[in-house]
């Protein structure tokens, strides 16, 4: 009998995954078997797991610099700097969101290890998506991420909106996954492989005669639908406002940061590695989605009265900006498209976590009052918190000296590089429209007059764990805004495979 040949495994390369998985299981079991832990211990223990993973990721980043990227486990995963960049991004997001969740769960009387375990689980899915070199593995990661997110969205057991949001997300997300999977099947039919690298090589050699590529194009289209749903690009964005509004606020920040990061990483990987030769086909699609997303997201954000809904629409508009970078990455010889998307993702992840952390504090007990009115007078009550929120909002509007400007600048530069001036101008004008929404929140915090009944409201309390998250996010936003050189270089390194 032939001995079974196992693929050799580069253990160091998957250590971050193992740390997260092991840490999650150990903490989940420990948490289940012991009495409730004291305040914020669950969060901190998960933060430690994230930090451990982060350290190994840094080591890997360095190693790839010396030894070059590798594909491991029989070509299933690619460990290059692109992968590690995304890994670092989602791990940092995991740490920040875990901390931001600590006192939220206590306030809502939901404390326990489950939420954190689901975070870690979702991050593992996100990391698999980023590293996947095979569409089936990619789907695996997508499902690990998505299922964890469905549960997280519904995890506020006493709020019916949370249940509703989870169910909506589940049904629509299931649809999108089906589209994605069908796309994978068609692509397999057209190219004979599910391997992303192999697909790129095959399509590079193959010449399609007229009409021969119908299956391939249908596969690409379905794949794009599935991924566009996950990144919440128009016209696949309809779930976003409802889900973002209904989900527990820290979970919303997690979805907007980790979820977007992973889905865009997968999109970039598939489009740039597997389908660069078909760029002429997918670029127009991405172009249209980008323009629609920036415009529709910005315009609809302005007319909302609920801050979580506003931020949901603004996240659609931000997805449009990132898509501009994706579109640019499809151009031959482009150097800025991909790094600008990655940079935007990293910056936006931190911004959105900061913004939603403040929002979570302002929604007060019950997580229900996320209307614009609940921000009224925040500057009087909590000036520093209001100042931090102002920094996040101005950054999202793309004001210079904040990281948001760096992100927008990179994308605009990538677009201009490819002579997509129209899209650059549309995006910038849309960002002015979006500025109205950020200004509305700022006005509510700083300039609105107090109304009767304001005194009776619960005071906004700032637990120190959330304080740490907000402070860290503000520092990152300002430092990356004033000295963005290192971040830009890192994003560019991620391209160098």
């Amino acid at each position: 009998m032939e001995p079974i040949v196992y693929p050799s495994i580069d253990w160091l390369a998957i250590t971050p995954l193992i740390i997260l998985l092991g840490g999650m299981l150990v903490l989940l079991v420990l948490g289940a078997l012991t009495r409730p832990w004291p305040r914020a211990w669950y969060a901190w223990s998960h933060v430690e797991v994230a930090v451990a993973a982060l350290v190994v990721e840094m080591v890997l980043w360095n190693r790839i610099g010396h030894e070059g990227p590798v594909t491991i486990i029989n070509d299933a995963l690619t460990i290059d700097r692109f992968t590690i960049f995304v890994w670092i991004g989602v791990t940092v997001a995991l740490g920040l969101v875990s901390l931001a969740t600590a006192d939220y769960l206590r306030r809502e009387d939901l404390d326990g290890p489950e939420t954190y375990s689901l975070y870690v689980c979702a991050v593992i899915g996100a990391m698999v998506m980023a590293a996947a070199n095979d569409l089936v593995v990619l789907f695996l990661g997508l499902e690990i991420l998505s299922i964890a997110l469905y549960v997280l969205a519904a995890s506020h057991r006493r709020r019916v909106q949370s249940q509703e949001s989870g169910l909506k997300y589940f049904v629509l997300g299931g649809f999108a996954s089906a589209f994605f999977l069908y796309g994978v099947a068609l692509l397999y039919g057209a190219t004979g492989t599910t391997n992303i690298g192999g697909m790129g090589a095959y399509l590079g050699d193959q010449v399609f005669l007229d009409g021969d590529d119908a299956i391939l194009l249908a596969g690409v289209a379905l794949l794009l639908v599935g991924l566009a749903f996950k990144v919440a690009a128009v016209p696949f964005h309809f779930w976003t406002p409802d889900v973002y509004q209904g989900a527990p606020t820290p979970t919303t920040s997690f979805m907007a940061s980790v979820g977007k990061f992973a889905a865009f990483a997968a999109m970039l990987r598939v489009l740039v590695t597997a389908l660069p030769t078909r760029a002429e086909d997918w670029r127009p699609v991405v172009w249209v989605m980008a323009v629609l997303s920036v415009v529709v997201g910005s315009v609809l954000a302005v007319v909302q009265t609920d801050v979580k809904r506003m931020l949901a629409y603004s996240s659609i508009s931000h997805a449009g900006f990132i898509l501009i970078g994706v579109e640019a990455a499809g151009h031959q010889g482009d150097v800025d498209g991909l790094p600008s998307s990655l940079l935007y993702l990293m910056i936006y992840a931190v911004l959105v976590i900061g913004t939603f952390t403040v929002t979570a504090l302002v929604t007060r007990t019950g997580d229900a009052s996320s209307s614009l009115d609940s921000f009224r007078g925040l500057a009087k009550e909590r000036p520093l918190l209001a100042l931090a929120m102002t920094v996040f909002l101005l950054a999202q509007a793309g004001m210079p000296v904040t990281s948001g400007f760096v992100a927008k600048f990179g994308v605009i530069q990538a677009a201009a590089e490819n002579e997509s001036y129209a899209v650059a101008i549309v995006a910038m004008v849309a960002s002015v429209i979006a500025a109205v929404l950020y200004l509305r929140i700022i006005i509510s915090m700083w300039l609105a007059d107090a109304e009767s009944g304001d005194e009776a409201r619960e005071k906004v309390s700032v637990p120190w764990t959330a304080g740490v998250v907000v402070t860290a996010a503000v520092i990152f936003t300002l430092v990356a805004g004033v000295f963005p050189g290192w971040l830009i270089d890192a994003a560019r390194d991620a391209l160098a495979r």
């Binding site: 101005l394 004001m399 210079p400 000296v401 400007f405 927008k408 600048f409 605009i412 530069q413 201009a416 590089e417 001036y421 650059a424 101008i425 910038m428 004008v429 960002s431 002015v432 500025a435 109205v436 200004l439 006005i443 700083w446 300039l447 000295f483 963005p484 050189g485 830009i488 270089d489 560019r492």
Partner: protein
């Protein structure tokens, strides 16, 4: 010919330009943190940092090399290499007096205007504003300029929105969004300019001097880029028909906001047109000059007519700003050294005289809690010194010979006559209209017998007088003896026009060649 040839800058090791930006910035941070329970110390910090900035700007004025056309005191450091942008500051004759004006105006505003509440953030925003304005006037790097140009919006937004009058939030938001729309186009323009100039400049750079000296844009490309910049500046100036934010912002802003807005913020637009529009894209500027001349003249007349009809004294001054800035744009696009130099001078003059007018209107509001012209009457009787001060400032705004407003406007008109004759002819009526609306307003407010409400109008106080004194001194000095100012402005303007001439062949007809025998007698 290198514009980088620094005059006094090389002997001066002290980084004076960087300090001009950093000192108010530090002041803003310190003021923002504040001293617990000691508001007077907080105010002292703000005052000291703004006075130090004034000192630095006056030192800059003193050590500025007269007769040197290029940028002086250049300060260049690497910043974001990945983008090709750097910390590049420099000053020349065009920006020198705007920098000095900024330096002088802020401490006067801090002393002269009372925010009434929340003094600490008010002062911090003011100082941040000063840092932003200074940076905008000094930047020689497109990204750095954009950064300062945009950041100015934030403190101004909060100043109008937090300390303004009834419609303050509306006015502040309108101001913010109008300017941001312009900036949106400019950012795309900036990025594209640098990318298209990449081959000529050898690697991507946002350095204005390097782009200007090396890159030569195709005519159509240059025009698009010029318009991307020009929209942002036209909103800021504001040029007709993009001016509608200005009356609201001016009227609703607190006095300090109005003074700064009129004094220096609007000049970002006219300065930007010269420094970035005309300097980088001379061909496009010449090509589109008739559009700008026409819009400028419409602005002059429109502003004047609208000002005549106002019932609110502050709104009247705001509309007069639209008219006055029309003269500056007219001068800029006349492309003769008298007209452009006069325009630059008028930027400073308008800052001084309209800034002072807003201060005076603010003082009237403090006393009477109204700005409606119909409510005010016979103030001359009860407050003669106040009326005298108002009179001097108003005459300067009208452009009466012997005061500063005359010099700038006269130069613009006489310089523009050879190259933009009919526009100048029409614009000259704007001077008459200015006399009409300002004198009429003066007549209604100050003449006659004071009624009961106005009879208790308080006379000018010592502190108010001390704040107004520098304004009046500048008005009279510049009006009587403008030569030192013109000597410093002119070389830079001339070198800019030489550049326009080299690139486009556009020359102003000289007196000998001009068949209509117009004389170019006036050098001020």
């Amino acid at each position: 010919m290198s514009l980088l040839a620094a005059g006094g800058g090389e002997t001066l090791s002290f980084p004076i330009l960087t300090s001009l930006v950093v000192v108010p910035l530090i002041g803003a941070v310190l003021t923002g943190i504040g001293v617990r329970n000691r508001p007077e110390l907080t105010k002292l910090i703000a005052l000291v940092s703004s006075v130090v900035t004034t000192g630095l700007s006056l030192w800059l004025l003193a050590s500025f090399e007269t007769g040197e056309a290029g940028f002086q005191f250049v300060s260049q450091h690497t910043w974001i290499d990945a983008w090709g942008t750097g910390w590049h500051l420099g000053v020349d004759g065009i920006s020198l007096f705007l920098v000095v004006l900024t330096g002088v105006l802020f401490p006067l505003v801090i002393v002269g205007c009372d925010p009434h509440h929340d003094e600490k953030p008010y002062l911090a925003w003011l100082l941040l504003l000063e840092a932003g304005v200074m940076g905008s006037f000094l930047s020689l790097d497109l990204v750095l300029f954009f950064l300062f140009f945009e950041i100015v919006l934030v403190p101004m937004y909060f100043l109008i929105g937090g300390w303004g009058y009834d419609q303050r939030v509306y006015a502040a938001t309108k101001f913010f969004l109008y300017t941001m729309v312009g900036s949106a186009f400019m950012l795309v323009g900036i990025v594209t300019t640098a990318l298209l100039a990449r081959d000529a400049t050898g690697g991507i750079t946002f350095d204005v001097v390097r782009i200007a000296e090396n890159a030569d844009f195709a005519a159509s490309t240059g025009r698009w880029l010029f318009f991307a910049f020009a929209i942002a500046f036209a909103v800021k100036v504001p040029l007709f028909p993009l001016h509608t934010w200005l009356p609201d912002a001016h009227t609703q802003a607190p006095t300090a906001g109005s003074v700064i807005l009129a004094g220096v913020l609007l000049k970002l637009g006219t300065y930007g047109l010269l420094r970035f529009g005309v300097y980088l894209f001379p061909e496009a500027a010449v090509w589109s000059r008739e559009i700008f001349l026409t819009l400028a003249v419409i602005g002059i007349l429109w502003g004047a007519i609208a000002a005549t009809m106002q019932t609110d004294l502050k709104r009247l001054v705001a509309y007069s700003s639209v008219a006055h800035l029309g003269f500056i744009v007219l001068g800029t696009f006349a492309f003769t050294s008298e007209a452009v130099g006069g325009g630059v001078m008028q930027m400073v003059n308008h800052g001084v005289s309209t800034g002072a007018l807003f201060l005076l209107v603010g003082m009237i509001y403090e006393r009477r809690h109204t700005r409606a012209i119909s409510e005010l009457k016979g103030l001359q009787k009860v407050a003669p010194i106040f009326a005298a001060a108002f009179m001097v400032v108003m005459l300067s705004s009208i452009g009466v010979p012997g005061l500063n407003g005359f010099v700038g406007e006269f130069l613009v008109l006489i310089g523009g006559f050879t190259t933009a004759r009919w526009w100048v002819v029409v614009a000259a009526t704007g001077v008459i209209l200015a006399a009409l609306y300002l004198l009429w307003a003066y007549q209604r407010v100050f003449h006659g017998e004071p009624d009961e409400a106005n009879s208790s109008f308080r006379e000018l106080r010592l502190r108010e007088g001390m704040v107004l004194l520098p304004f009046i001194a500048l008005i009279v000095f510049t009006g009587v003896y403008p030569k030192p100012m013109l000597d410093r402005i002119e070389p830079s303007v001339k070198s800019l026009l030489v550049r326009v001439e080299e690139r486009t062949g556009f020359t102003a007809p000289t007196a000998e060649h001009d068949e209509s025998h117009s004389t170019t007698e006036g050098e001020g």
